[in-house]
């Protein structure tokens, strides 16, 4: 997104700004990006609305706040105070106003503004997600590459078989196994609760294992398709070396589909790494949302959903830009 955020120090006029944006030679037209952003906003609105009505339909959160033995008047007072007795459309409008202003009621559990809480956890999630994604893409990509271009049956079959077998192992089991071997028996890495760089390795690895098979398979299929493409034959006829042929004409042309899969996985990571976060006590936003739901901490739930939805949209936008960088046919 750096492409979009970087602005000239002081654009004298709007036309100058437009000219400057043109000068950037963005692979995608600003109009296209604007359109995508708008679609993204609609998606965020849809997600937040869904969550609002889901929460509403599960009952009055005020009842949870009062002590079990408190008199019914107390519960009623709280309900009125928090606005839960108003008609649903009115509550919804109030709620949308809060979302637009970024001004949410305090978290019920933490008694503080939920936005900083969610953002802090988002940072931890992004850190873990980046490590997991990078590891997964590197390992999965290598396996896909070997299985598509390997010269012997062994390089083509063995790594891919291992990756496919990994796909069958549940995340929690792999996480526990990895902890047992690398932390408990060998003592190379801290087991849980550490936030230092070393503490990232085990959860990152566990997360990566979930990506490796998908990335490996998609990349392999893309590579095999491109290997049989006519233009690869043209390039071979020019006497280009095998390494250069694979790099320039095969790998480069196979990145598009793989990128889309990685993009979807990256989005899922934002809120869906709950199992890994739980095993390693990682303070990510996935864990935070689950706890918030369990505590019926509805302001926090809403903020978590909002943060995750916005993150999803931004990641998709980034994927679209990268796809256009890779694939010139998408630019027009």
């Amino acid at each position: 997104m750096a492409l979009l955020d970087a602005r000239p120090a002081a654009p004298p006029t709007l036309t100058a700004l437009v000219a400057w944006l043109r000068g950037l030679r963005l692979p995608l037209s600003p109009r296209y990006l604007g359109g995508r952003l708008l679609t993204g906003l609609v998606a965020v609105w849809g997600a937040v609305t869904l969550v609002f009505f889901a929460l509403y339909s599960t009952g009055n959160p005020a009842l949870l706040l009062v002590a079990p033995d408190a008199p019914p008047e107390e519960a009623e007072r709280l309900t009125r105070l928090m606005g839960f007795d108003r008609p649903v459309p009115e509550q919804y409008v109030t709620f949308l106003g809060q979302v637009l202003r970024g001004n949410f009621p305090d978290s019920i559990r933490y008694g503080a503004d939920p936005v900083p809480i969610a953002l802090e956890r988002l940072g931890a999630s992004l850190e873990l997600g980046a490590v997991g994604l990078t590891l997964g893409v590197l390992v999965g990509g290598t396996i896909g590459y070997l299985s598509a271009t390997g010269r012997s049956v062994w390089t083509r079959r063995v790594p891919l078989s291992i990756a496919v077998a990994l796909d069958g192992i549940p995340t929690f089991f792999f996480g526990i196994l990895a902890t047992l071997v690398l932390a408990v028996w060998l003592g190379w890495l801290p087991a849980t609760g550490s936030t230092g760089p070393l503490g990232l390795v085990l959860p990152g690895l566990t997360l990566a294992v979930a990506f490796v098979p998908a990335v490996a398979r998609v990349f392999r299929t893309a590579l095999v398709d491109v290997l049989h493409a006519d233009h690869v034959r043209t390039a071979r006829a020019t006497g280009i070396g095998r390494g250069r042929l694979l790099r320039r004409h095969v790998v480069g042309n196979s990145l598009g589909t793989t990128l889309n899969v990685v993009g979807i996985q990256a989005g899922v990571l934002l809120g869906g790494a709950v199992v890994t976060e739980s095993i390693f006590g990682w303070p990510g936003i996935g864990q935070l949302s689950i706890n918030a739901v369990q505590n019926r901490d509805y302001p926090l739930v809403i903020v978590c959903v909002l943060v995750i939805a916005v993150g999803f949209v931004l990641i998709n936008l980034l994927v679209d830009v990268l796809a256009a960088v890779i694939e010139p046919r998408l630019r027009s």
Binding site: D230, H231, T234, A235, A237, T238, G239, R329
Partner: protein
Amino acid sequence: MSTDTSTALTERTAPGTAAPTLVVRDLVVGLRPQRHEPPDALPLVRGVDLTVRPGQSVGLVGESGSGKTLTALAVAGLLPAAVHVQGGTVDVAGREVLGLPEREARAHLSGHLGVVFQNPTPSLNPRLRIRTQLRDALPAGTARRDAADRAAELVRLVGIDDVDKTLAAFPHELSGGLNQRVVIAIALARSPQLLIADEPTTALDVSVQAQVLDLIDDLRARLGLGVLLVSHDIGVIADRTEHVHVMSGGVVVESGPTHDVLADPQHEYTRRLLAAVPSRLTRTPVAVAADESPQLVVRDLRRSFAVRGPGGRVRHAALDGVDLTVARGQALGIVGESGSGKTTLARIVTGLETADHGSVEFEGTDLRAQNRGQRRDWRRHVQYVFQDPYASLDPRLTVAQTLREPLELNHVDLPRGGVDRRVDELLDEVELPRAFRHRRPDELSGGQRQRVGIARALASEPTLVVADEPVSALDLSVQARILALLARLRAERGLTYLFISHDLGVVRFLCDDVVVLRHGRVVERGRTEAVLEDPQHPYTRALVDAVPGRAFA
């Protein structure tokens, strides 16, 4: 592998002739043996001999599966992984390449031989600019500064005027004809002595085809290139080669000077192949009652599509005011190049597409004013035969299921046994064995599939058949049989044909009248013979002139 090149050597040193750039002797190409399978009994190419001299153009002609492309790829060292050379010698520019280590062979071949393939646009890397691809193709060690000049020079050499724009473009921004010129430029980048062109113009329009073939001829004369031209098109071979080898079933059945072979074929297969050329097929005239009311009237039909171009979205008029009248029992040919709007017209007439403006009347009723009953009748009476026999049949359905569908829809009253009987009759009618009813499309050849496609159209007892390039994906001999079938069905059933084709020979065989479309407008219409013999519009004249093999036909 045989190292006996004595024949090649004597030929090369024969007095009065330049040393050949390509000598192939006894080439055998077969499937690589699989570990778990017994070795295949018969190689795919057996004992091919070829010689190409500098400045000479040698043709390799045959139908699909004849081994002509495998032969060309074997010479170029570009065989697919499952296939390999099993024997023989290939001498390129004086050096035997079979038996050389892979790298050395590749280096020698890439320095002395350029290759041009069938589909120009997919033959270029979609991700790289033309400039980059041309530079990559230059001999290793070309200096950076020289590379830019050399790339521009190559683009000019292949007759592209707008050098800078072409160099900066991506392949998808250029037309197929321009891309094929770029592919030729890439082939010429290392100053080869031999050009192998595998169906170089099959995917192109006739007029572009003529230009590309002219270019190859011109380069051959100017640079003294030897050209090995692989084609299924007898016309192209007749016009562009001095020497021809006719291949069938993996062997060369006949070879000799092109003129002699085509004028006086010795081998039975060559004779059959030449007899299948559409312009040589003998047609049986069908009498059409002239006073019949028109069955189909098309008035001022317009249709445009939004096309994304370099300057944003633009409207492209596929049909720009077309008027047509088709009498009952008439066979009307519609010819034009890609983008002329002929397929859009067919789709609108059959209701697969709607027009922006204008009207289509079937049996006197406007399509938009039909009541339910008329609409049902129209659906039944107008049937479509598609171009691609592979894609137009549902791969999961057997032949019987495919044919039963329209029968059950349109003849609700037919008893079960009646449907089965009709399926058999339809198979008889398109000359397919009845046992084929249980087969699925992947168990049929292209010609057989197209017969099923025709039977499916006939199932609802149509009176008007719209056929969009129904034979263009088929081999010559298969094409001739399908055309004969279409002609017979028309005579027997009194069908009206709206027959779309880019091939003037095919139209001449099947259609009494012809309409020439260009850019969505009718530029000429009339009796087929008259229009093709004495075209009035300059575009028609150019189209007729561009058809290869006129001297031969």
